[in-house]
Symmetry: C2
Subunit: 147 residues, 2 copies
DNA sequence: TAATTTTGTATCGTGAACGATATAAATATA
DNA sequence: TATATTTATATCGTTCACGATACAAAATTA
């Protein structure tokens, strides 16, 4: 029995579980907007800056285009984004929000922060703990990205 | 532009990204053992205690049986576990390690901790930071599990 | 400018996750 | 003990992730 191979000693398992469970907590809230969690991430990217090529969106989310392309195709079917070939560089697909996609921002603002606050209100972590957690996660993310 | 909807302010996005990137870092190492990351998690559960029903494995990993069942079926095809109906309760499938599955423990011990140490050696986090991070993640996990 | 390389996106196949549903076995209840 | 309920697992459909590959457009080089 190797200590290093104990599930309870794995940071990665905690990250994996925490990530899945938080995403699960988002799901019922996002369902009201008829979107999934990865689609919500794409929307946040576009709400910050509308009209971006697929590559920029993928890079911002640390995903590959072969993940993002079908995601965007589904979002286009839902009528929340449109994709148009760039005239400057015909290889690029420029992704833009539709009116419906833009309208979701207000709806998200009204439901998501409050809803997630409710989900996590019994969590003993304080404001500073969350800030600290964010810093540590950023360290790990940067380390692996630059490896 | 709502601060609450900025990608950079999302704890969840950090968890999601950190989890994916760490799993990616595991992948080349696990490939030497011809297993995936979720399969490695199942193996850790079985190395701790061989011969468990599907439910117990799923519960330990905070997964549903509809995720674990196909995972186990693939592992059975690979010849690292076997599933046998319990004679006490014929509904239960008891999952056990094969000789090959048991042998993987030694191989995992020899390659994974060293390999991951190498991957993360440039990470500025100290031993105590990792311990702290683990505690905070456990808080979040427990909060959501008990909601 | 012709040939080569790089870049941006898409397609394909596999393995998760997970909601919804199905089914048989075990347990509880009438 | 017959019926209803619960439990353990499996199946199905959809949506990610992601490695491998394909292909056209752009950039580079010969």
């Amino acid at each position: 029995m190797y200590e290093e191979l104990r599930l309870d000693n794995q940071l990665c398992f905690r990250l994996y579980t925490a990530s899945r469970l938080i995403t699960q907590a988002y799901t019922p809230i996002l369902k009201q907007l008829n979107i999934t969690y990865p689609q919500y991430l794409v929307l946040m990217v576009l709400w910050e800056q509308d009209g971006q090529p697929v590559n920029d969106i993928a890079h911002r989310l640390c995903l590959e285009t072969n993940t993002v392309t079908p995601l965007l195709q589904r979002m286009e079917k839902l009528g929340i984004v449109v994709r148009k070939r760039s005239k400057v560089d015909k290889r690029q697909q420029i992704v833009s929000l539709t009116r419906k996609g833009k309208a979701l921002e207000q709806q998200a603002f009204e439901t998501i922060p409050a809803g997630m606050g409710e989900e996590l209100k019994t969590c003993p972590l304080k404001q500073e703990d969350y800030a600290h957690l964010a810093e540590e996660l950023d360290s790990i993310i940067e380390t692996i990205k630059n490896r």
